[in-house]
């Protein structure tokens, strides 16, 4: 394996997935709740690192792989701040090698 392949960043990985942006937000987070959330499980569960933390919770739905796991951990371990549904029909991630 070539060296760059070996240390492939998550961003490079995500660039391999085709996305069609949903103009409507399909993830909505009540961020104030996150400030009081100690566990912040969304930062760790998401395989696409949709959620990051710098002073406050930030999220970028564009790399969302639509697993739905953030919803489960947020509601059971976190602050119940995430409202999540699938992107609209035909929108979001599209896999060729699933």
């Amino acid at each position: 394996m070539t060296e760059p392949e070996k240390q492939m960043s998550l961003d490079r990985r995500l660039s391999l997935v085709s996305f069609s942006k949903d103009p409507e937000p399909f993830i909505v987070v009540e961020k104030e709740l996150c400030n009081r959330c100690e566990a912040k499980p969304c930062l760790y569960i998401c395989p696409a690192q949709v959620y990051t933390w710098t002073d406050q919770l930030n999220y970028n739905t564009e790399g969302c792989l639509e697993t739905g796991a953030c919803l489960v951990v947020c509601h059971k371990i976190g602050a119940k701040a995430i409202e999540w549904k699938y992107p609209a029909g035909g929108r979001g991630a599209s896999f060729k090698q699933g």
Binding site: M1, T2, E5, K6, Q7, M8, L10, R13, L14, L16, V17, S20, A39, P41, L43, Y44, I45, C46, P47, A48, Q49, L65, E66, T67, G68, A69, L71, V72, V73, H75, K76, I77, K85, Y86, P87, A88, G89, G90, G92, A93, S94, F95, K96, Q97, G98
Partner: protein
Amino acid sequence: MSLEGFEVAVVGAGPAGSAAAITLAREGVQVLLLERGTFPGSKNVFGGRIYSYALRRLLGERWKEAPIERFVRKEGITFMTGDSAFSIEYEAKELELSFTATRARFDKWLAEQAEKAGAQLVNEVRVDDLITENGQVKGIIAGQDRISTDAVVACDGTTAGLARKAGLLNMLEPHEVSMGMKDVVELPAGTIEERFGLEAGEGAAHVFVGACTQGLRGGGFLYTNKESVALGLVVGADDVSIRKVPSHSLMEKLKAHPKVQRLLRGGRTVEYNAHMIPEAGPGMLTRPYTGGMLVAGDAAGHLLNNGYTFRGVDMAIGAGIAAAETILEARRRKDYSAGSLRTYERRLRDDPSLRDMYTFRGVPSYLRNRRLYDTYPELICAAAEAVYRVDGTGKRKIYKELRAQTKGRVSTLRLIRDLLSGARTF
């Protein structure tokens, strides 16, 4: 296109949905098969293997027309530490029992079979809600469209949106789901066959346990396709969240292991994808049906990970068939009430393949034993090192060496207990 006049709406054109649609359409039922992706399979992700029996049951000898990547000849497992690996491999006698596949091709093909049988497939539709009257499901709502049907088959995946709307599930618990991630790495067919010791068209399936998950519940997997290798990792959602380990970092750890590096050398990663895996088993929903609706596939926990075989697609196909047969029976009675549909659960339990889900229902709690992911893989590798290493310092007999290796790692009593309870569970 008019979306009226359909008797049954099947939500989700994955294996469960398409199997249900095929079974219903064949009997002349007007079936609407709805898929939120641009085509069936475009949203679907799995490890890589399908057990053939389910497809044969659904389609007879036509099952072989499926987009099969490779028939699985070799089954392997590797226990790994950061810098060592102990592997066992079995070469199956019969080649056609299971095959590797990719969902973008397989699910698309299976949905085409549903269309050929007479089902109406509509892509790019997200079903948002159910139409309910007096607790009875009477159809589905997708955006502005309200589609009335006699019955709904919800095959909408692990997030189980429709089952939640119907009150069959509140919210999954983190320990009931795992995160699965996968890289697909392109390699020439000849390289795959040489590297894995396979004949043309034959494939390998491999599992990795140990350092790759940093002691968290889960493991790695590898499946060979025609001209690519699917390398992935599954980890418990509770474990990554509570121990604050980013899930994708484990994928990188697996990929960086020397053994995996050698298997993938020269390959080019072409896609990264992920899926939430239901691990709760068929007890995931309070019941897999309500008046006017049946739930099948991941959405109902129809999946079996018993620690050494990982079965989702065959279970989903079986459940889809069972759901369809339940509806056919209800249709003859012209009664789609919960009381009429309750035979679904019996069908699931009585089916010889689906019954495995109930047989292995104790497995998830056994698999929560952390020693399976750190202590025991380390012990196995250390024992192998002690047995095989000759450096002139003098050797002990195997039994003595193994006993010495357990010292400080696990008490004899605990080891025996884990072994006995494993024997009962598996």
